[in-house]
């Protein structure tokens, strides 16, 4: 694999039909940093966070009201004739669907729409390196729609927290990601209450059913996944202290706090009455700031920590060079991170200018999303939003649903599996049926001008139909790796 292919495939999303190959591959990549558009039209047209939070709040209100109605109905004496009163009260006549279903549907639809827009943007983009970085950071700060409240917000999270910050400092990206409502809901921060906060004290005095308290989930994942990395020296006490410092950051109008904090802006908010008062000590350093500034100061220090530099450098190197990242590359990126205060464009430039990503061709196995995008860029195939999500489900990588805050794994072993390979072949077979006019013999050398293997070339040339030739090309070893 030569430099052109490395630039197109390892750093990008594959050759796009009709585009001239980059004359200067490294320059082409670096120039994308400046050309990057954080809000391209297809993305900017999507519903935004406040609107989505409004929909979610309406849905939760409807559910609460139904529960109250049911509770009231259950307290009334049941008529004698009714043998199964509990069943009866739960049953909903089919002609009258629950109002929630109507409220949930727009949120589900907007997920498909946003996931489709993401795919379309990746297929159409002329800054594919940047689009890869959007996906990289979105996965680094993963939210998952496994948690129902996130379904309408995963797209707005990527578009409003990640996209505008991929060329910022890492600390800016970190602030934006961990303070977005999708993250606050996904990792339970929205419901975390300082036990000694105003509202926490009030609830305790009232003898509330559930004792208000902190939720450490976000604090732990920030340390373990987003910044320092696991086994980097922080303790449970540090996590707890950090969680206390983060209290107050929430989303109004949602959950059990909705009664106290009605929906207003539809954005994340800092609510002083939830914040645990007092100074905090995290990793040996005392933070005496009041209010939101306390959590911010800790985040700032986490972002500047050498362990974070190493963690981010390792992940970038693994994503763009090899499953086992070359130590020299990691060390170089780490130094750039520390020297520039986590300036992300500097890291991208260092990555492009390093020799390691330009060697060891085909070391990375394309993940399903990358492969599906590359298929469309190569062939001009347009997979509609719903169909794209169906395919990604089949391939084992549903959009914004990694199931874990750790995001999708970045190792070949996770993706190069027998059944997954079979599914790619099946999909390639299906897609190629609609692409009968493509001559794969001319397409193959355009996709892989420097590395088209004899095996693939022969398979394509000897195929017994154009459809079969294209299906073979789309699952060729060259196409499956980058």
């Amino acid at each position: 694999m030569g430099d052109v292919e490395i630039a197109l495939n390892r750093f990008g999303l594959g050759w796009k039909a009709g585009e001239a190959p980059p004359a200067n591959p490294r320059r082409w990549l670096v120039d994308q940093i400046a050309r990057y558009d954080p809000a391209p039209a297809g993305i900017a047209a999507l519903p935004r966070t406040p609107e989505q939070i409004g929909k979610l709040a309406a849905l939760q209100t409807a559910r609460t009201e139904r529960r109250q109605d049911r509770a009231e109905a259950a307290n009334e004496p049941a008529p004698k004739a009714m043998t199964q009163p509990a069943m009866e009260s739960r049953a909903t006549p089919s002609s009258q669907p629950r109002p929630e279903a109507q409220l949930l549907k727009p949120l589900r639809d907007s997920y498909v729409q946003a996931a489709g827009a993401r795919m379309a943007q990746a297929v159409a983009t002329d800054t594919p390196f940047m689009e890869r970085l959007v996906a990289f950071w979105s996965n680094h700060f993963a939210v998952s729609i496994d948690k129902g409240t996130v379904i309408g917000l995963a797209g707005t999270f990527e578009n409003e927290a990640i996209r505008p910050n991929v060329n910022s400092k890492f600390s800016d990206l970190l602030f934006a990601a961990v303070r977005h409502p999708a993250m606050l809901l996904f990792l339970d921060q929205a419901q975390s209450i300082g036990p000694n906060s105003l509202l926490g004290q009030r609830a305790q005095r009232r003898g509330a059913e559930r004792k208000p308290g902190i939720n450490e989930n976000l604090a732990r994942e920030i340390m373990e996944l987003h910044t320092l990395g696991v086994h980097s020296g922080y303790t449970q006490a540090d996590v707890t202290e950090f969680a206390k410092a983060l209290t107050g950051t929430t989303v109004t109008g949602l959950g059990r706090l909705a009664r106290l904090l009605p929906y207003d802006s539809g954005r994340a908010a800092f609510v002083e009455q939830l914040h645990e008062p007092g100074a905090r000590t995290v990793m040996g350093k005392k933070y005496a700031q009041a209010g939101e500034a306390q959590g911010r100061a800790i985040l700032n220090d986490l972002a500047a920590h050498p362990a974070t530099a190493r963690h981010v450098a390792t992940k970038l190197a693994r994503h763009f060079a090899a499953d086992h990242p070359p130590p020299a590359l990691v060390a170089r990126l780490e130094q750039v991170y520390l020297k520039t205060g986590g300036d992300l464009p500097s890291l991208y430039r260092a990555l492009v200018e390093s020799p390691e990503p330009w060697s060891n061709p085909g070391a990375k196995f394309r993940q399903p999303w990358e492969w599906l995008v590359a298929v469309q860029r190569a062939t001009g195939l347009v997979i509609p939003a719903q169909g794209g999500q169906f395919s990604l489900n089949q391939l084992g990588q549903p959009t914004w649903r990694p199931g874990s805050p750790a995001g999708w794994d970045d190792l070949a072993a996770s993706w190069a599996a027998p059944d997954a390979l079979l599914r790619r072949v099946e999909l390639a077979n299906r897609y190629s049926r609609n692409l009968a006019t493509i001559d794969s013999r001319t397409l193959a050398p355009r996709l892989f001008p420097e590395s088209l293997s004899e095996g693939t070339r022969t398979a394509v040339a000897r195929a017994d139909s154009g459809q079969q030739a294209l299906a073979l090309l789309l699952v060729s070893p060259e196409m499956l790796r980058r």
Binding site: A412, A416, A417, P418, D419, L421, L422, V425, E426, N429, R433, N434, A436, T437, D439, S440, R441, S453, G455, T456, A459, R462, A463, D464, S465, G466, Q467, Q468, A469, A471, L472, V475, S476, P477, L480
Partner: protein, 382 residues
């Protein structure tokens, strides 16, 4: 019998004007009873392995080990014998419902499947020169209500064009993936990681599928197409795609299975159509033939001249139409292939035109413009 035609004496076998259809006014919007099915053999079917010229003195030496397929085969006439797998077709031949046109070729002379299939399907003289398919243009010559159908998930090139064509496929159709799967295996053979993964996935698939190992069911396809061609509102023009003909290695067993499948498909079609078989013409054709001599892997490589088959109740069968070029070294095209001496276009136009009561010259000009040949006559019962 062998009707030996040559390109000179077959010209004008049909008087153009006398065959112009006279359609009744009320029939203009309805469709007729005549049915036409095109079975395309994608991948270059070996015509010499299908209908072998046992009477050609060069046959045994030129074909080498491949000649053994015909040991003990009954000859249709003094020259030709059908592959033993084609028992049903042999019976049709005896009933004068099967006719073979041997040594045919499309206008294209190179050996690319894609280019050649494109020419075969569009009816052009060069690949990608013509946008719509010859079967779609044929529809323009047929009564306005004539329905056309592709038996596949999408519409193949031969049927594409301005006239409406439906496509239908059900899950019991031959699985096109079977051939693809084996090609994928070959492609991954040299890739350690992918080879291991693929072998493992194939084993799992075989276990899951139980006794349904190939998914190929030509009988089901024949039955399905017969049902889709039945009744007053059924289709009258249909196309079936078959694959697996690209026998580069171990041809002996593969061609036998392929031909058995084709024979069974046609048998199921005939049975399913019942009396409508008498109103039916089936054309079986491929993009080009294969090398006369076997290659180093017990197969044959891409060639030129090939075979077309006409089957059905309207066929003036029981004969092989050919201007036989011979298999001796000096008689081969470019020293390796059966020389095409008849134009496939001319055979199709002659047969399809007469079958539908159309002027074959008009069919030729409409479906295969620019070819320059004349329709072959005598293929359909008068």
């Amino acid at each position: 019998m062998t009707l030996s035609l040559n390109r000179r004496n077959m010209l004008g076998a049909l008087g153009a004007a006398t065959l112009l259809p006279t359609r009744l006014a009320y029939a203009a919007a309805a469709q007729g009873e005549r049915r036409f099915v095109f079975i395309i053999q994608r991948g270059a079917a070996d015509g010499l392995a299908t209908l072998a010229p046992l009477g050609d003195p060069a046959f045994e030496s030129a074909r080498g080990a491949l000649a053994a397929d015909f040991a003990g085969a009954d000859k249709l006439d003094t020259t030709f014998a059908l592959h033993p797998a084609l028992a049903g077709m042999g019976a049709l031949y005896s009933q004068k419902q099967a006719l073979f046109v041997h040594g045919v070729g499309i206008p294209y002379r190179d050996r690319s499947h894609f280019d050649a299939q494109n020419v075969l399907e569009t009816g052009g003289t060069k690949p990608y020169q013509t946008k719509d398919g010859w079967m779609n243009r044929l529809l323009a010559l047929l009564p306005g209500g004539t329905r056309a159908l592709a038996v596949s998930p999408t519409v193949p090139a031969a049927l594409r064009g301005p006239r409406d064509v439906t496509s239908y496929a059900n899950s019991r159709l031959p699985d096109p993936d079977a051939e693809l799967m084996s090609r994928v295996s070959q492609m991954y053979a040299g890739d350690k990681q992918l080879h291991a993964l693929w072998e493992s996935s194939m084993q799992a698939k075989a276990m899951a599928a139980g006794n349904d190992d190939s998914g190929q069911d030509p009988v089901a396809t024949g039955k399905l197409v017969a049902s889709l061609l039945s009744g007053p509102s059924g289709a009258r023009v249909a196309m079936i795609e078959t694959g697996g003909w690209d026998t580069h290695f171990q041809q002996k067993g593969r061609i036998e299975r392929q031909l058995k499948g084709l024979d069974a498909m046609i048998g199921a079609l005939k049975t399913g159509l019942g009396p409508a078989w008498n109103e039916t013409l089936v054309l079986v054709a491929t993009e080009f033939g294969r090398t006369v001599a076997p290659n180093g892997t017990g197969g044959t490589d891409h060639g030129t001249g090939s075979l077309a088959m006409l089957l059905g109740g309207t066929v003036s069968g029981g004969k092989v139409v050919s201007d036989w070029p011979g298999l001796a070294q000096g008689q081969l095209f470019e020293g390796r292939d059966l020389k095409p001496t008849l134009a496939l276009d001319a055979a199709i136009a002659g047969a399809v035109g007469a079958h539908f009561g159309l002027d074959p010259a008009l069919v030729l000009a409409t479906c295969f413009p620019g070819g320059g040949s004349k329709p072959i006559g005598g293929l359909i019962r008068a």
